[in-house]
């Protein structure tokens, strides 16, 4: 019976949240039908059926976190030969993750590929554990009754060492997030999980004792109350679970912290640019295209990047990639965090095209409907907080890109012109640079050129 699995929907996605089911158990589905929504680290995406049939079982509840490749639903022929409802993974998953639900049932999923033996477990769901296969009745009828098995999660991949260490520490590998190839749980993960769990009560010991018996932890061991010894300070705080978006933002920016940064600031005189913008917006008012300062900045950066290809680079550990395409990312605030849609080949697109595209992308970003293609592959990022009245700030690099431009608000600056004190508009640009890729003079040349382009805006359209 075809499984519907958690799809991989972004380059950095490792797990997703089943946001909403759009179809219900028993609904007929066709391949390509959208049956639910997946909240990835970047956006909310469609969950499509890959097979025709009847949506017989929804395996995870809305809100559940599921690793890529793990089943979330089953599509059958409508005869109900899907998983037994007693094996209600959905309710379990509602409380945690899809991975979590195979707690103690590793061996049942082990044999899933060979399918027969595992079916015996349907009749004895509580036996779980490594001995389940051996406990299964040997007669073929038991196998013929139903082929449902191991639906409450995928096989847990863990290195032999990690398995052994997990048992010694009373941990279940299924509860541990694997960071090895294909999500394999490795020693480091067990150690990390062990540190995390060390403050917890005896529920782990339950698991350890059970494992030594060759049996999975009983279901009661899972109902042990949550740790009572949490620090007092935390008791007065509202616990906000991390969303995928938040997790990714945190992970990416933590990576960024390792980058040796330096910062360059330039002040741009904006009068010419603002005049230019007013001119073209007036001229193209009928077409509905309206260029923002940000659009002009994107275009100006693209032109400058084309002239300074070394800046259009990224760090790859043992080498540097200098990109042929100039893809300018635009940091967009969204309710839960931040996303950076990308204007591809911005150096080859006209201002109107950029303006249209940027608006479209920002809208999608806020709606959470960006496609993977639309928020990946950036080579440079522009972050504009000017609309919030921020004069000047530094941005954190969006790895592996080599630089990011922080744009503040245009501000009035006193100036003596023709013997009179007057004001002019200026904008502070701060370029954050990865020193591993670029040196000061190189980056300065780029910023200087960018400043000149913005102050002589005819160059923007060239």
């Amino acid at each position: 019976m075809p499984e519907v699995i958690m799809p991989r929907l972004s380059d950095t996605m490792e797990e997703g949240i089943l946001g909403r089911w759009l179809k219900h158990e028993g609904d007929p589905v066709k391949a390509g039908d959208v049956i639910g929504e997946i909240e990835t680290d970047k956006a909310t995406m469609d969950l499509e059926a890959f097979d025709d049939g009847v949506l017989e079982r929804l395996l995870v509840a809305e809100g559940a976190t599921v690793a890529i490749g793990q089943p979330v639903a089953f599509i059958g022929d409508g005869t109900g030969s899907g998983p037994d409802s007693d094996q209600d993974a959905g309710s379990e998953a509602g409380a945690g993750s899809g991975k979590k639900t195979d707690d103690g049932a590793a061996s049942s999923v082990d044999v899933e590929a060979q399918d027969a033996e595992a079916s015996a477990e349907v009749g004895a769901p509580s036996s779980g554990g490594p001995s389940a296969g051996e406990d299964a009745p040997a007669d073929g009828d038991a196998h013929a009754d139903t082929d449902a098995h191991g639906l409450d999660g995928g096989r847990v991949f863990a290195s032999p060492l990690a398995r052994k260490m997990a048992v010694e520490r009373g941990l279940d590998p299924a509860d541990i997030k694997g960071t090895g190839p294909g999500g394999r749980v490795v020693r480091a993960d067990v150690l990390a999980a062990g540190e995390h769990a060390s403050g917890e009560d005896t529920s782990g010991e339950h698991a350890a004792a059970a494992s030594r018996d060759g049996k999975a932890p009983s279901s009661s061991s899972k109902s042990v109350p949550a740790p009572a010894s949490a620090p007092a300070a935390q008791q007065d705080s509202l616990e906000i679970p991390l969303t995928q978006m938040r997790k990714v933002v945190a992970k990416r920016l933590t990576e960024s912290a390792a980058v040796p940064h330096f910062f360059l600031t330039a002040v741009v005189q904006m009068d010419a640019l603002l005049e230019f913008r007013a001119g073209i917006n007036k001229r193209f008012a009928d077409s509905g295209v309206k260029a923002s300062v940000t659009d002009l900045l994107v275009r100006a950066c693209a032109v400058a990047l084309r002239a300074h290809p070394v800046v259009n680079s990224s760090w790859a550990g043992d080498k540097i990639y200098q990109h042929r395409h100039v893809n300018v990312g635009l940091a967009v605030a969204v309710p839960d965090g931040l996303i950076v849609p990308v204007v591809r080949d911005a150096d080859r697109k006209g201002l109107a095209e950029i303006a249209t595209e940027a608006r479209d992308l920002a809208g999608k970003a806020r709606e959470g409907t960006l496609s993977l293609q639309e928020f990946s592959g950036g080579t440079f990022t522009v972050s504009n907080l000017g609309m919030f009245g921020i004069d000047n700030f530094t941005a954190i690099i969006n790895p592996p890109e080599a630089a990011i431009l922080a744009v503040g608000a245009a501000a009035d600056e006193p100036v003596v012109r023709d013997g009179e004190l007057t004001t002019r508009k200026v904008l502070k640009l701060t370029l954050t640079v990865d020193h591993r890729v670029l040196d000061g003079a190189t980056a300065a040349a780029f910023l200087q050129d960018l400043k000149q382009i913005l102050e002589d805006p005819m160059r923007i359209v060239l």
């Binding site: 032999p160 060492l161 052994k164 960071t179 090895g180 190839p181 490795v186 480091a188």
Partner: protein, 337 residues
């Protein structure tokens, strides 16, 4: 002798072999040398330099180009109580003598019910990297390491070259003594005296905690060098030098990998069915629950080794290859130094 053993001298691998042979020839008059060009020519690689002059043509016997003949003759001489040390100019030519080595030397003791031992040594250098092309650059140690009845050693250092050769000559079984062209000029501290090593024991030549590299002969020198570099980067690599390919010291290998949880085998031989395959299988048995990732193998590309330098260089495993694989394995196990 114990006073001697405390003293060491810096000598080449070549000189260490020469010293061991001379020492045994002085100690036991039954020790004779047989081989092509080992006398007047002093050996293709000068391992027997000076010995003809010192011991005369009866004990340092130049042979015709007839590997099957003189290897077999050494077997017969050994059966009558001599202790022949045969030099085959390169390991590649031993294939001409393989019937005598595999069907005779390896069999006589067991097949005749333990009545007659065959105390002989076959020394031969293997290895590529000298632009000698496909037929002169092989590492076929696994052919011999596969055969019960033989003992197969492959020292990586001058000290081991001497001590294992002393052991091999005193051993009553046929010992295949594998040298490597690229090792002959390498230098190391070698104890004075004539204390033999124990055949059948591996050695941990560098201690480490994060990962084990298992290798032998020339490859060990690469492994040690890479381990040294990586130590500076905060990665602690343990190096196990097999020294003896038959018998294989499985417990030392397993003990190391049980400690580190990660294993890479570096071998000069071709990959398929190689030493690395045997060690991987050994670790499956002896360290399964201690492995944090599958064992990785770094071995020669599976082609007849080309003459052209860029191709030859790329076909043979080098420090860069080992380093890359170590880093990959560390990444696969989410290693943090």
């Amino acid at each position: 002798m114990s006073a001697d053993a405390d003293k060491t001298t810096l000598v080449t691998y070549r000189q260490a072999l020469n010293d061991a042979i001379r020492s045994e020839m002085n100690r036991d008059e039954k020790v004779i040398l047989l081989g092509e060009e080992i006398g007047i020519f002093e050996g293709s690689y000068k391992i027997t330099a000076g010995l003809l002059k010192e011991f005369g043509p009866e004990r340092v016997r130049d042979t015709p180009i007839a590997e099957e003949g003189f290897v077999g003759a050494a077997i017969g001489a050994a059966m009558l109580g001599m202790r022949p040390v045969v030099e085959i100019m390169t390991l590649n030519f031993s294939l001409i003598a393989i019937d005598q080595i595999v069907n005779h030397a390896a069999k006589i003791y067991g097949m005749f019910g333990g009545q007659q031992s065959v105390p002989m040594v076959i020394r031969m250098p293997g290895g590529g990297g000298q632009q000698l092309a496909a037929t002169h650059s092989q590492n076929l140690e696994v052919w011999y390491a596969h055969v019960p009845g033989l003992k197969v050693v492959a020292p990586s250092t001058p000290a081991d070259a001497k001590a294992l050769l002393l052991a091999a000559i005193r051993d009553d079984d046929p010992v295949i003594f594998l040298e490597n062209l690229a090792l002959y000029n390498t230098k190391g501290e070698v104890p004075a005296g004539d204390e033999p090593a124990e055949i059948g024991r591996a050695a941990v030549v560098k201690d480490g905690t994060d990962l084990t590299v298992i290798s032998y002969s020339r490859a060990t020198t690469i492994a040690v060098e890479v381990a040294r570099q990586m130590a500076e980067e905060g990665i602690s690599v343990e190096v196990v030098d097999l020294r003896s390919l038959r018998p294989l010291d499985r417990s030392t290998i397993c003990a190391s990998v049980r400690k580190t949880g990660r294993a890479v085998v570096l071998e000069d031989d071709w990959l398929s069915y190689g030493i690395g395959a045997e060690i991987s299988a050994t670790l499956m048995e002896g360290a399964f629950d201690y492995l944090d990732a599958p064992v990785r193998r770094v071995a020669a590309a599976e082609v007849p080794l080309p003459y052209a330098k860029p191709l030859e260089r790329r076909a043979l495993p080098d420090a860069g290859d080992l380093r890359r694989v170590i880093l990959e394995l560390l990444d696969d196990t989410s290693f943090e130094s």
